[in-house]
């Protein structure tokens, strides 16, 4: 079922769009579905993908948007607002957003939303984050879409590109996914006999600080690694340009799990899912619950089946580190700034 739904997703999306024209007049007269949107760092391409999908499917939807602005305390207040409003579905962006809304497995039902379907997106590893009981079915009132390629697959792509013997990693220790990703990376790197040097720009209280990024990069560069890896990190995404330019300035070719780092910034490469397509796939999950009448526990948590290898040639030229010629055959080349 899981692979079937992935494979047919785009076809279904197109069919839904086609049906929309005939369905809309009837649906327009019905009461709109109410979706509470819980953002972690404002509006993203994922949110846009979700809205576009549901619009093309002809679903009348009334959105209520809540932005936590990367503040966990704000999430607690949002949860209470949503509980009072009783929407049909809650959509939550990122691991932090989803954990803040649905809580971890066995979390307090008073503090978290457990009796309204929660659909998350852009969560890297929901099982490690203890957001779900298991995969692909969550075992609770939660489902959603994973936006990342598995760490082992990313490591394989990174190795083909840089053949590293020493790899630098910059992550946010305050983020659940970041900690899990580094633990997983240690395993695959050890198996491949690659030395890892890990840094997190967090202060003594464990909070990430922008001004600590530079010193962290300096320490990493001093170890003369072959490349720098940036796991998916919500904290870094708004800092894509600054962070990746700082890495290039220190002669670090960067591989990122997040698309904006390569498209907007100067990360040299990455294996990524399009955030917009992740949003569309999330819209499909929401539709299965609202129109299909399924419980979130019956809807599998999935990733898109295809990932794109992005190569930023401007960064490559600046660093004089070039991709293998065969990689250029299948990679999406970005000419960059």
């Amino acid at each position: 079922m899981s692979s079937l739904s992935r494979r047919h997703f785009m076809g279904l999306a197109a069919a839904a769009a086609g049906l929309a024209a005939t369905a809309r007049p009837a649906l327009a007269t019905a009461a709109p579905y109410r979706i509470a949107v819980v953002q972690w760092r404002g509006d993203t391409d994922v949110d846009r993908g979700l809205r576009d999908y549901l619009a093309r499917a002809g679903l009348p939807v009334e959105y209520t948007v809540h932005n936590a602005a990367q503040n966990r305390d704000a999430l607690a207040a949002i949860v209470q607002e949503v509980k009072a409003a009783r929407p049909d579905v809650v959509y939550a962006f990122s691991t932090e957003g989803a954990l803040g809304v649905a809580g971890p497995v066995g979390g307090d039902a008073e503090r978290f939303i457990t009796d309204i379907p929660v659909v998350f997106a852009a969560v890297g590893d929901p099982a490690s984050a203890k957001l779900v009981h298991g995969m692909p079915l969550s075992g609770r009132n939660v489902t959603g879409v994973i936006h990342l390629a598995p760490i082992s697959v990313q490591f394989e792509a990174l190795s083909s590109l840089f053949a590293p013997r020493r790899l630098a990693v910059l992550y946010n220790d305050a983020e659940t996914y970041g900690r899990g990703a580094v633990a997983e990376l240690r395993k695959v790197a050890e198996a491949a006999k690659v030395e890892l040097i890990v840094e997190s720009p967090t202060d003594a209280e464990g909070r990430p600080q922008v001004d600590l990024i530079g010193p962290a990069l300096d320490r990493l560069a001093a170890a003369k690694p072959d490349a720098l890896y940036l796991p998916s990190t919500s904290f870094f995404i708004p800092l894509a340009e600054m962070l990746t330019e700082a890495a290039v300035a220190r002669g670090l070719p960067t591989f990122s799990a997040n698309e904006p780092m390569i498209r907007r910034g100067k990360a040299m490469a990455g294996l990524v899912s399009s955030f917009y397509e992740v949003g569309q796939f999330t819209g499909y999950k929401v539709e299965q619950i609202l129109v299909g009448g399924k419980a979130p526990a019956e809807v599998p948590i999935e990733a898109l089946s295809r990932f794109s290898l992005l190569i930023n040639m401007a960064a490559a030229r600046e660093l004089a580190v070039y991709p293998p010629i065969t990689m250029l055959r299948y990679a999406e080349v970005i000419h960059g700034r």
Partner: protein
């Protein structure tokens, strides 16, 4: 063999030899210049393909340079060349030399730069310019950047030994077509000679004998077609006027003529049925769809398993059918089922429908197989049965060889589905031929078993030591070794030894060709001496000994010897097994009827034969290929020795 038959046989040998000489000479006259031209044309033909390959590689280099990668820092060229060579095994080397003359990357046994420098440049859009460098046909193409600047040259060498192998394969294809043409021409000529010359002459001989016995003309003289037959009919008609009307108990078609009819019908049918043999796995792969949770590797082989399994399973119910039908009608049913299966195969849209279609064709094959064997046993006198069965076995393999070869060519030109339709058409031709030639008379109808069969009768058959010995110690080990070696061990082992697909096909094909040509010759000799038991034992031992060939010759020659000895051994063993069945189980035959005896025998040897490759797989994992083949050989040879004791013991008990 009487004087008339001997004279006709001499005539047939001369006519067929002469005709084949003319046909093959003419074919050789046309083919030899074609084959010769291959040596000049093929390298250039291949080079055109390689120009495309090098142009693609050049475009990749030019794009990388256009993206800002300096030529000196191009990464992964070796990997790119290695992948290109893996996809084109005939490419001996690939090298990129930049505009400054510096070799940047190479893969394969590249000749020295000094030799490469002499290779002329092939400019895009012009015919390839090939020169011979060491043992390569060398080619050189420029790599041009987007701004028109020369970035360097890519050198490619086509391995001359690979080209020679390709030419050899093409020559073998030509020879195969010539051999198939010769086989078909021979079958047609012999059919014409037998129906237009042998049959009237045998009739005339019979008339002469009858006249001498003052019995008058008989319907025997009415046999045959053409001018000579008409003349004979007029002559015997005259005799009728003198001696009165012919008697009503007219004898049937002479057995030699009936054997010819059965042979031709079987040849055409089997050739039709095997047209799809060479491409069936490819067709299965095209229709691949999930079924019963089976893996793709298992599914690909399933249509052919369904086909052979059904051809074996249908034997028991088929035996009952034969008791109620004439041979002609049973052949028609079988051929129509086969044709229907082929049409259904052509129309099949998924794996399930293809499986069903092949199973229907398998039922058709099983029925036709039974009918032809039964017709031979009915018409051929007991003292010539081994020869009759050997003719049957031989024609089966000749037709399989011809059908497979023609099917491959047809599939290449018409496509898989059209070849299935062609197969149905040819099967219907066999059907029409059988309708015209197989008698519908009482004699062509097998008598039913004298008593109703029951489990007790089958039980008695199972404890008949000589029947059971023949089945379990000769037929079964031979069949299992045959399926294991020819369909499993030999192809896989040869592949592991580095043989090409064409070489594997040729080596494995030796089995069928040996059976086709050796079986009738050996059988005639065995019939003359009545050495059926000895033939079964010696043939099986020979087959088993073949398994040992891989011990001293752990290479392609070892497999070739094993396959050839299996062909020779089974040419001796299989026809004699068939002849011995009514002899060793005469009392059982009186109760169950001969068709059931044969059906039980065939089911008993063929259904477990599917275990052959499975046991072989286990042996290979434990012992390796060579020892697995030798172990099978030991089993077959040891079983034959046991068979001697079984026959000896039961004979002394009878005495």
């Amino acid at each position: 063999m009487n004087a008339t038959t001997a004279a006709v046989t001499r005539l047939k040998v001369r006519v067929v030899t002469l005709a084949l000489l003319v046909i093959l000479s003419a074919a050789a006259l046309v083919s030899i210049p074609v084959a010769n031209r291959q040596f000049e044309d093929l390298p250039v033909e291949l080079a055109a393909k390689h120009v495309t390959l090098v142009s693609q590689l050049g475009r990749d280099i030019a794009r990388a340079v256009d993206l800002g990668i300096p030529v000196a820092q191009l990464r992964g060229l070796e990997d790119m060349f290695a992948a290109a060579r893996a996809a084109h095994p005939e490419v001996g080397y690939l090298t990129f030399i930049d505009a400054d003359g510096t070799p940047r990357a190479g893969h394969g046994g590249t000749p020295p730069d000094t030799l490469l420098a002499r290779v002329p440049l092939t400019t895009p859009g012009h015919p390839p310019r090939l020169v011979e460098v060491e043992h390569f046909h060398a080619l050189r193409l420029p790599v041009i950047g987007r701004d028109g600047a020369a970035l360097g040259d890519i050198h490619l060498g086509i391995d001359r030994s690979h080209v020679a192998r390709l030419i050899q394969d093409r020559v073998f294809d030509i020879i195969t077509v010539m051999v198939v043409t010769a086989i078909i021409a021979t079958e047609l000529l012999l059919l014409l000679l037998d129906s237009m010359v042998t049959a009237p002459l045998l009739g005339l001989q019979r008339w002469a004998e009858d006249t001498r016995a003052r019995r008058g003309a008989t319907q025997a003289a009415q046999q045959g077609r053409g001018e000579l037959a008409a003349f004979v009919r007029q002559l015997t008609g005259l005799s009728g006027l003198v001696h009165g009307a012919p008697p009503q108990d007219a004898p049937s078609v002479p057995w030699l003529i009936m054997l010819r009819y059965v042979r031709v019908a079987l040849f055409v049918f089997v050739a039709a049925d095997t047209l799809s043999l060479s491409f069936l796995p490819l067709f299965s792969r095209e229709l691949m769809s999930p079924l019963w949770g089976l893996s793709e590797d298992v599914l690909v082989g399933l249509p052919i398993v369904a086909y052979w399994l059904m051809s074996a399973v249908v034997q028991l119910p088929g035996a009952r059918l034969l008791e109620h039908m004439t041979h002609r009608r049973a052949f028609v049913v079988g051929a129509l089922l086969s044709a229907a299966g082929s049409v259904a195969s052509a129309l099949s849209s998924d794996m399930a429908s293809l499986l069903l279609a092949r199973a229907v064709s398998g039922i058709g094959l099983g029925l036709v197989f039974m009918v032809c064997q039964a017709a031979i046993l009915t018409h051929v006198p007991p003292e010539r049965r081994t020869y009759g069965v050997a003719t049957f076995t031989g024609v089966f393999f000749l037709a399989t060889f011809s059908g497979t070869a023609v099917g491959g060519i047809a599939a290449e030109h018409l496509g898989f589905r059209s070849t299935f339709l062609l197969s149905a058409g040819v099967a219907l031709t066999a059907c029409a031929f059988a309708v015209l030639t197989f008698g519908a008379s009482r004699e062509a109808h097998r008598p039913a078993a004298q008593a109703a069969e029951g489990w007790a009768a089958y039980g008695k058959l199972a404890v008949n030591p000589r029947y059971a010995g023949l089945l379990l110690l000769a037929a079964l080990p031979n069949r299992m070794f045959n399926v294991a070696l020819v369909f499993f061990l030999a192809p896989l082992y040869l592949d592991m030894l580095g043989a090409s697909k064409a070489e594997i096909g040729r080596i494995v094909g030796v089995y069928g060709l040996t059976m086709a040509f050796a079986a009738p010759i050996i059988a005639a000799w065995v019939d003359r001496r009545g050495w059926q038991v000895q033939s079964v034992v010696v043939g099986s031992i020979l087959c088993g000994l073949g398994g040992f060939a891989v011990v001293p010759f752990d290479n392609q020659w070892g497999i070739l010897i094993a396959v050839a000895l299996m062909g020779l051994g089974q040419s001796m063993s299989i026809p004699s097994q068939m002849t011995l069945i009514p002899v060793v189980a005469a009392r059982n035959a009186a109760v169950l009827g001969l068709p059931r005896l044969y059906a039980v025998f065939r089911v008993g040897e063929r259904v477990p034969a599917f275990l052959g490759p499975i046991i072989a797989g286990v042996l290979v994992s434990l012992l390796g290929y060579g020892a697995a083949i030798a172990t099978y050989g030991v089993w077959v040879a040891a079983s034959s020795v046991l068979l001697i004791f079984v026959f000896g013991a039961s004979r002394s008990k009878t005495a």
